[in-house]
Subunit: 422 residues, 2 copies
């Protein structure tokens, strides 16, 4: 089932919301787990998310009752989604004749810090899992949730269940952690945009992390980071197929002797641009600007600084944030501007915004050794008549901010340039 | 707010599923609790049920995934309903500017036995409640659920949240336990059947218990039993009104010098009759019959034994069970009959069934001293042309099994006889 890995190995499997989205799908997951159990895999642990739609339903209820509800009450409400999923999967496994032991975070001992709604896991006890295995039972564990030392329920925030699964894999010294989702794995590009996209059989953590951060929705950066830290291989596969060769493995050392120059092309449509003018020389400084923005919890992505040589002319700065953070960013800059105008020390600070943007990125560890990836990227976009608004590069990626309406086309021409012309 | 009771008293309030059935209703309950908080009531604890419909939704999910799901998995799934309600009410109270502390059973320490789906409460710790009060917080407690010594989630079965509330009231030495529901209290008869029905201001535990057992849906017998055992007054009132005088108090000593002969008339439509013939003399015995039925967990209600004097003629026995237990009852008797036929020791045992029945009852502690209640009951039914199939009496009630189609009429004529002709 898992190639060369002996069935005495410890394996953690995670099933996402769409995988357990209905009673029928839960029975399907149970049948899948039962097959593996019958194939001799006894040291499995299964992590589940809430049924798809359920977390959103619970969040909406909390918001309706009190839009300013504390994160602690929020956590208690939304954690109920995983509780139901765990109980249902355990019940479905009983139906398959396989003994299962359902565990909520507090029952298993998944201890987190006290940061409600975005808690970080501190430790996971393994004695209850070992006890379940000793009785021939498969532990079914609630993802996304944790418990503080004071017995309060926490949730882990975005990507939470994947993080639960990888953390449990680390705690149990698992051979690997399998993330079962509604796609076959990570592709060279989103197949809905680029039908010619290929499934990536193997990836470095580094590439997986960049791709996750740059818009590939399959894996969350946080669980990749955790896997990388503890060198736990992560296998992404499709809950709805039984083909064991269709999957993406994320690991430290890929078996390929030389990495591909480029592993994938990603598209992120959640991009808004802010242009700030009137900065510097007695007015608001750049460091002050970014420190107040960071204090609001806003993530700044690409920064382009376009400072003319002349001292008399005020500086200009462009940067991108997620669309949902745009109004908070503008408000923050407005408060800064008012403060600086009040002190009467210089030119007035102004923020202009631009939406309707997207970020297309080319990612690959091989870019370190292969020259010309940047040139090829710009040429492909330019040949297609796509205007580049901003550029950001790192050792293993090139990101270009373009018009959102050019997003699909940009993916197609870049995928063609790097994957289809070889 | 509570008459003469000082606001330093401990009060437990319980809100049922319809009282918290929507975000708007949850905010309404929060406003109600906040008003009392502001009126100086600081030692309150609030118990909540799942939002109406939610428990049924969760039960249906479990049944869909596995109709034979273990009670342990069932409990984990359905307990999620109260978890959400507790979190939402705590969030709504925050919105009212009142600090609340949400507690699930495991967090508070509501310890039960291991009988999943019908657990009984063993103990409730009060230290967490006291700590919340010391911080000026109102504890919001999940009803219906408990935890075993082994940290497994249990649920209490029917009437569970009322039982949680009364048990918490006992643990906290509360002045009383308030059951907030969707009616004003307990009436002399169901007002939907008898518009002239009056609200009962006060009741004994004994009468409340009989009325609850005999079909009045307002209070569950189990919580009345618990209140009676510890002499904790129970106040039933309407969540949706603010009239403090509209309510029913259930207590040991009512303030009335002489009890009413009759407190109420109840109707129970969940009645099916089984008639067993061929019993006795070498065949299946009566005690054997009822002990195997009890082993199946079936509650037998009224029993009528009609044994002719002649020894040669086999005995006949009629009894009633809940409609849902009818097929299991017949099956059980069939197995007994087969066994007795196999041993070839006597006449064959046969069971006939009859549905379409109802039980109308007249209840009152005053019946002990007032003669003639039985005669008046039979006369009222007979004058209305209602045929009585079976009769069962105790010190404080008279029950008659009649045709279900006569149910409403029977209530009306009995209510008229006992309450409207005085």
């Amino acid at each position: 089932m898992y190639g060369d890995i002996p069935n005495t190995s410890v394996v953690v499997q995670k099933y996402g919301g769409t995988s357990v989205g209905s009673p029928e799908r839960i029975r399907n997951v149970a049948a899948r787990v039962a097959r593996q159990y019958r194939a001799g895999w006894r040291r499995m642990a299964v992590v589940v998310s809430a049924m798809s739609g359920e977390t959103n339903r619970l969040v909406a209820l909390v918001r309706d009752v009190n839009p300013q509800a504390s994160a602690k009450n929020y956590d208690m409400a939304v954690a109920a989604g995983e509780q139901v999923a765990v109980a249902l999967l355990a019940a479905a496994l009983e139906g398959e004749g396989v003994a299962a032991e359902p565990f909520l975070a507090w029952q298993l001992g998944i201890v987190t810090d006290e940061a409600h709604a975005r808690a970080r896991i501190r430790s996971i006890r393994r004695d209850k899992v070992e006890a379940a295995w000793a009785q021939g039972r498969i532990p079914i564990v609630a993802g996304f949730q944790g418990m503080t030392e004071d017995m309060e329920i926490t949730t882990l925030g975005r990507g939470g269940s994947d993080t639960s699964a990888v953390a449990l894999g680390v705690a149990l010294d698992a051979a690997f952690c399998e993330i079962n989702t509604d796609v076959d794995g990570v592709y060279t590009c989103d197949p809905r945009i680029v039908p010619a996209a290929r499934l990536l059989e193997e990836m470095d953590y580094e590439v997986a992390l960049e791709m996750a951060s740059l818009g590939s929705k399959v894996l969350h950066p946080r669980c990749v980071e955790l896997g990388a830290k503890y060198k736990l291989p992560i296998v992404v596969r499709n809950t709805f197929t039984t083909d064991d060769h269709q999957r993406t493995r994320v690991m430290t050392q890929t078996t390929e002797i030389e990495s591909l120059a480029v592993s994938g092309v990603t598209l992120d449509k959640d991009v808004a641009r802010v242009t700030v003018s009137g900065l510097g020389s007695g007015s608001v400084g750049i460091s002050e600007l970014f420190s107040v923005i960071a204090q609001r919890g806003i993530n700044v992505d690409i920064i382009v600084h376009d400072k003319p040589g002349m001292k008399s002319e005020p500086g200009r700065l462009g940067f991108t944030v997620a669309k949902g953070d745009l109004s908070a960013t503008v408000e923050t800059i407005g408060q800064l501007a008012k403060k600086s105008a009040g002190s009467g020390t210089g030119a007035s600070v102004r923020a202009d915004t631009e939406s309707g943007l997207a970020k297309v990125s080319v990612v690959g560890v091989g870019m370190r050794s292969y020259a010309g990836v940047a040139g090829k990227t710009f040429a492909a976009l330019s040949d297609a008549g796509i205007q580049i608004h901003m550029i950001s590069t790192s050792e293993i990626k090139i990101s270009c901010v373009i018009a959102e309406t050019d997003g699909a086309k940009a993916c197609q021409v870049l995928h063609k340039a790097f994957f289809e012309n070889q």
